[in-house]
């Protein structure tokens, strides 16, 4: 049985009316982030990207809205559902991947392990200030020689009386240079342990990585531990083993699934507007078949990608999202987003390579997003194992 369709309005920016699948509260949270990005991020982003800096002073503004640790309960956190967290990531990354990265790292990689594996004292000491953006956190897992294979880390923690002594180097650490505390994962006699390392701890230093051509509006650093002595209560008591850091990554990767579609949406909308006003051969280039094909492919992939994000978000809210599901989302959405950014660049022609338009900035940012939080290759192999039962790596 079918009914005649009502006369519906087709919206180029939400073609499948995905908005209708959100609750009024989810839409309001989304709109609050969209307004913040429009008014506070977009006007400054070209400058920050070009200068290669993240405006640290905005951390408390981001905190005041409730973006930091938003999906966690208690300790000054907003306690939203996973879908709302995803929508926030999408809107932030439509501004710039640097801002989404800041929020992902603070909430999912620094606050989440304290919230999930920390002692009551640790939670009360750190989480409220981090939720407000007064304290910034970072997450140290990757090392110069241990990227996709974090189990090969060399950083180690040795007991010395009640104290712990950490030695090692962490690399490619978002927020490292501006962090007030680092969550550092290190091998110990008992297995991999997480430590809260406050800035200023003797033996703990950071060094920022410069000359990046991607994620320029984000601080990326090296963390160096040289006989870094920590008291017994610096260790996260609730977890031992790689499942500690990997569970945090699964949280952050989930946000990236949505975020990538934000960057893609910004590129698509820019290309769409440009194609309607840019004339060649006395015709808006949006009227040419080749341009329409590009725009339609972008629009189709963005709608599919957001539907996928929403589906995974609902699964996560019901407790049914496995890490493999998250890999599916990250693999698809980042891969498609980077294609969309490159395609949008071609529609903008030479204008597409300048910072006057957001497209090349998103395209460059997505190169990092493709690699961090599990490369597309690793996510492919995780899915390969899931469907064949055979491990391509161990």
């Amino acid at each position: 049985m079918s009914t005649n369709p009502k006369k519906v309005t087709l919206r180029p920016k939400d073609f499948l009316d995905i908005d209708a699948l959100l609750s009024p509260e989810e839409r309001m949270l989304r709109d609050a982030v969209r307004q913040f990005v429009t008014e506070r991020v977009n006007p400054g982003i070209e400058k920050w990207f070009e200068a290669g800096e993240f405006p640290r002073e905005m951390a408390t503004e981001i905190g005041a809205i409730g973006l930091l640790g938003m999906h966690l309960e208690g300790y000054g956190c907003a306690g939203t559902n996973a879908v709302s967290y995803g929508l926030a990531c999408l809107e932030l990354e439509a501004g710039d991947s640097g801002f989404r990265s800041f929020v992902s790292v603070q909430g999912s990689l620094a606050m989440f392990p304290i919230w999930k594996y920390g002692s009551e004292e640790q939670k009360e000491q750190w989480l409220p200030g981090m939720a407000k953006g007064e304290l910034i956190g970072c997450f140290g897992l990757t090392e110069p020689d241990a990227g996709s294979d974090p189990g090969a880390m060399r950083t180690h923690a040795k007991r010395d009386g009640d104290d712990w002594v950490l030695n090692g180097t962490k690399m490619w650490i978002t927020n490292g240079g501006i962090a007030d505390l680092a969550i550092v994962w290190a091998k110990s006699a008992e297995g991999v342990k997480g430590f809260i390392v406050p800035r200023g701890t003797p033996g703990f230093t950071t060094r920022d990585i410069h000359r990046k051509l991607s994620l320029r509006a984000s601080v990326t650093s090296e963390l160096i531990m040289e006989d870094c002595r920590l008291p017994a209560d610096a260790v996260l008591p609730g977890v031992t083993g790689m499942k500690g850091p990997l569970s945090c990554l699964s949280e952050a990767r989930y946000g990236i699934i949505w975020g990538a579609m934000g960057a893609a949406r910004s590129c698509y909308e820019t290309a769409l507007e440009y194609s309607k006003t840019r004339k060649q051969f006395d015709t808006p280039i949006g009227g040419f078949q080749l341009t329409q094909q590009k725009l339609v492919n972008m629009m189709v992939e963005i709608n599919k990608g957001i539907l996928l994000s929403l589906h995974l978000g609902r699964m996560k809210d019901e407790g049914n999202a496995a890490p493999e599901h998250i890999s599916f989302g990250k693999l698809n959405n980042v891969r498609e987003a980077i294609k969309i950014a490159r395609e949008a660049r071609t529609i903008l022609g030479a204008n597409g390579i300048t910072l006057e338009y957001p497209v090349i900035r998103h395209a460059n940012n997505l190169e990092s997003v493709l690699t961090y939080e599990g490369t597309s290759e690793i996510h492919t192999l995780i899915l390969g194992k899931a469907i064949t039962g055979l491990e391509a790596f161990s």
Partner: protein
């Protein structure tokens, strides 16, 4: 102090307007709280907060949002509640579809009076859809209280008096008004706060009274539309601006232009 803020749910002004005959299509389109009303809500919240932290006057009292519109207008009420207002009243009735400003003022005044004693009613200067700008004054008339229009700054609020600066063409008036009163506020009267996630989540639990026309002891005749839109036409396309070639006098010409526009 009990403060009432009028809020309106309108089709998103950033999207092309869709018409339903000669009225604006309001259902099945993307709606938002009128951006002009954010200033009203912020003004109400600031007065309440100022009184709560100031000396003398106690901070007791509430900010109540009052709105008229279809069921979807609940989103505008929730938006204001998420900014920090305490409760809401939404009047919805099929009979009200296509209401003019006079009928709207009648309904809002009835809803405000039913809500209880009030000290101050705040509205935007004009809506961002109909732009009649007649509602605040009409509302004050129905409520039988004074009206101060185009308020650009709220200087002080205490006891039974409100002191405000009122925008004029070439400056501003300093006005003191006895309460209760109605004021209309301009965009720029304040910097509306961002709704925080906690505010948005708390808004769900705040009370919103939903009323129909009969709850206000009004009939369809009371709100019959007295004005009719007879014709609609598209606004003329904006013409390209004047281009000044710089022969050394461009700066002076631009300064003259800005002076003429009273910008400087």
């Amino acid at each position: 102090m009990n403060i009432v803020v009028c809020v309106k749910h309108i089709p998103d002004p950033n999207l092309p307007a869709e018409m339903d005959g000669k009225t604006l299509k309001r259902e099945g389109v993307q709606g938002v709280m009128d951006p002009g009303d954010e200033f009203g809500v912020e003004a109400g919240l600031q007065i309440k907060e100022r009184l709560a932290t100031g000396d003398g006057e106690s901070g007791e009292g509430e900010v109540t949002l009052v709105s008229m519109g279809p069921a979807a207008a609940m989103e505008a009420v929730r938006r204001g509640l998420s900014m920090g207002a305490d409760k809401g009243v939404l009047v919805s009735d099929d009979v009200l579809k296509g209401s003019d400003a006079l009928a709207t003022a009648k309904v809002l005044s009835a809803a405000i009076q039913k809500n209880g004693a009030f000290d101050l009613v705040i509205a935007g200067v004009e809506s961002t859809d109909g732009y009649t700008g007649t509602l605040p004054g009409t509302l004050a008339e129905f409520l039988g209280v004074p009206h101060v229009s185009t308020v650009k700054e709220i200087v002080s609020a205490d006891g039974g008096t409100l002191k405000v600066n009122r925008q004029t063409a070439d400056g501003y008036h300093v006005v003191e008004v006895g309460l209760p009163a109605v004021i209309s506020v301009t965009a720029g009267v304040n910097e509306p706060r961002y709704a925080s996630f906690k505010g948005i989540m708390a808004a769900k639990k705040k009370p919103v009274e939903q009323l129909s026309l009969s709850d206000l002891d009004l009939s369809g005749d009371d709100v019959a539309v007295k004005q009719e839109v007879t014709e609609l036409s598209k606004a003329e396309e904006r013409e390209g601006g004047e281009i000044i070639e710089d022969d050394g006098s461009a700066a002076a010409k631009i300064a003259d232009f800005l002076k003429e526009a009273k910008v400087i």
